[in-house]
Symmetry: C2
Subunit: 304 residues, 2 copies
C-alpha cells in the first residue's frame, strides 16, 4: 500500500501523520509532502518538500503511483481571499492537476479530499442534510466546491475513488496559526486553559460546528477505509453548540473559569457563528462519528 | 470598446460574428480566435488562430485587454467524454486561465460564457427554474458547472462581470458537425428540408429544449448589454416541444412531408429527450427571449 499525504505539516496533517504509524499496514510506503517540512518528524516515512502547483515537482512526487491520497494541502480562506492568485494556484489548480495525475498513474485510487463547510456559504436556519444546496460566498469555498465536483465526476467514470469531506474549523489550532477567520474557535480553548482573559469577536450565543483534530483524523481514516459509498461528498458529523456552552465545558474540564468578553463582529458571526443543526445521518450510517460530547471535545482540543 | 470572441469559427461563433458587425459600435475593436480559422471571414476584425490552453498564445491574445469577452470555445460533450485529457484542457483549464487573465488586464470586464444545460444532469419531471439543483452526469457538464462557479465568484469580488448562459443544443448545426450527442435535434430539420428519410435514434414523444442559432446569438448579445443583474447564471428561455411537434412544424414550413422512423435509444433520450418544462421568468424579466414559436424555430434553423 502506497500512501501520500499532502499538507502533511499542517495542523490536520501532523495529526494524521502521527496516527498513520499505527493505522497503516507495516509494509505501507508512506510519502509526506508540504511546502515546508520543518519539524515534521515521521520515522519510516519519506518526506518530500515542494510546491504542488509545480508540475515538475508533482511528476517526481507522484512517479511511484499511490493507492491512497490524503489531499489536505490548502490555503486558509481568509488568506486566499486576500491573495487571490496564490489561492487559485493552491486551492484550485493544484488539486485539479494532482487528481488528474494520481488517476493517470493509479486508476481508481482512493483520494480523500479535505473540503470545507465554506462550500455552503450563508446557511438558512434549516437543518443541514446531504441535500443542502451550496452557495459559497468566499473564493476558498468556491474552489473547494469546484474540486468536489471534479472529484465526483472522476469517481463516476472510475478515474478515482474519491471522498470529499466537508470539515468545519478544526480545534484547537495552535495560537500561532493565522489566516483562519475561525481562529476564535480555537483561541477560546487556549485562553481558558491558560487562565487568561480573551476578547472573543463574536457573541456568546453564536452557534458553531465543532470537531477536534482527533475526530477529524478518524474521519479521514474512516473515509480511506470505506467501501465505495453512493456519495462521493460527505458531511461528517459534528457537535453543534454555542460558544457559551463550549466555554463552560472547557472551564469544567480545565477547572479554570472562563474569562471571556464577547464581541459583536457580524461578518464573522455570519460565516462561522450562525450554523444551524446538522442531520449527518448519511455519514453516521457509514461509520463516521463526531466527538462524544463537549467535554470530550474540550479535552481533545487541549491535548493537541 | 474591445471585444473578444473565442470559438469564433464554431457554429454559434460564426453566427455571432456575422451579427457583431451590425451590433458593435463602429469604432469597436473586435478580435476573433479559434484553433482553426479556415473560412472565417469577418471584415474589420482581427483574427488570431491559436490554442487557448497555451499560456503564451493567451498572453499575446489578451495583451490589449478586453471590455467584453464571449467565451464560446468548447469541446462537445460526447467528444470530451471520450478524450478526457483534451476535454480537461479545453473545457476547464482554458476557461479558468482565460477568466483570470482577462480580469487581470481589465478588472470588471463583461465575460459572457456559453454554459450548457448539461450542468443539470438528469432532471426530474419538475419544472426547471433558476433554483433547480445541478447534478452533472458527464464530464462536460461538470466542467461547465465548475466554470460557472468560478465566474460567479469572480463577479462577487468584482474581478469580472460575468454572465453564464445555459444553452440547450442549438439548431440546426450543419450535418457535417460531429461530437454532439444531440446531433439528431439538428438532423431532423435537414432531413425534412431535403426530403430524405431519417432514422431518428429516439422516440417521437421525446421532449427537448429548442433554440435556433439566431435566438442563441440574440441571447449572447442581451447578456453582453445587461446591467449587472443579481444573478450571474441565467437559464435563457427556450421552446419546450416534442420531436413530433418539431417535425410537423418543419414539414409545414418546408412543404415537405417528414419521413422519419423513430428509435428507442434510452441513453440519448435520458440526456436530451426527457426535458421537463422550463420557467424562465428570471431571464424573461431581464429581456431574454426564445424563438417565437415552432414555425419560427424551423425557419430560423433552416436558414443557417
Amino acid at each position: 500500500m502506497r500512501v501520500l499525504v499532502t499538507g502533511a505539516n499542517g495542523f490536520l496533517g501532523r495529526g494524521l501523520v502521527a496516527r498513520l504509524s499505527t493505522w497503516a499496514p507495516a509494509n505501507a510506503r508512506v510519502v509526506l509532502t508540504d511546502r515546508s517540512v520543518d519539524g515534521l518528524a515521521a520515522p519510516g516515512t519519506q518526506v518530500l518538500p515542494g510546491d504542488l502547483a509545480d508540475a515538475e515537482f508533482r511528476a517526481d512526487l507522484l512517479e511511484p503511483g499511490f493507492d491512497l491520497v490524503f489531499h489536505l494541502a490548502s490555503m486558509p480562506g481568509g488568506l486566499a481571499e486576500r491573495q487571490q492568485e496564490a489561492g487559485l494556484r493552491v486551492n484550485l489548480l493544484a488539486p485539479i492537476a494532482l487528481a488528474d495525475e494520481v488517476a493517470a498513474r493509479q486508476p481508481g485510487a482512493r483520494f480523500v479530499f479535505a473540503s470545507s463547510i465554506a462550500v455552503y456559504g450563508t446557511l438558512s436556519d434549516s437543518v443541514v442534510t446531504a441535500e443542502t444546496a451550496t452557495h459559497p460566498d468566499i473564493t476558498y469555498g468556491a474552489h473547494k466546491r469546484m474540486t468536489e465536483m471534479l472529484l465526483a465526476d472522476m469517481t463516476r467514470r472510475g478515474a478515482l475513488s474519491a471522498i470529499s469531506l466537508r470539515f468545519p474549523g478544526i480545534v484547537a489550532r495552535p495560537p500561532s496559526e493565522s489566516g483562519h477567520g475561525s481562529a476564535f474557535m480555537s483561541q477560546i480553548f487556549h485562553a481558558i486553559a491558560a487562565g487568561t482573559p480573551y476578547a472573543c469577536p463574536v457573541p456568546a450565543e453564536s452557534s458553531c460546528w465543532w470537531m477536534s483534530r482527533q475526530a477529524a483524523v478518524e474521519t479521514l481514516l474512516t473515509a480511506a477505509a470505506l467501501e465505495q459509498p453512493n456519495a462521493t461528498i460527505i458531511q461528517p458529523p459534528v457537535l453543534h453548540a454555542s460558544l457559551k456552552e463550549v466555554a463552560a465545558a472547557t472551564a469544567d474540564v480545565t477547572g479554570r473559569p472562563a474569562q471571556i468578553s464577547w464581541g459583536n463582529d457580524e461578518g464573522l458571526r455570519k460565516i462561522f457563528g450562525s450554523m444551524p443543526p446538522l442531520d449527518a445521518g448519511q455519514a453516521l450510517s457509514l461509520g463516521f462519528a463526531a466527538d462524544h460530547d463537549l467535554k470530550a471535545l474540550a479535552s481533545a482540543a487541549l491535548s493537541t
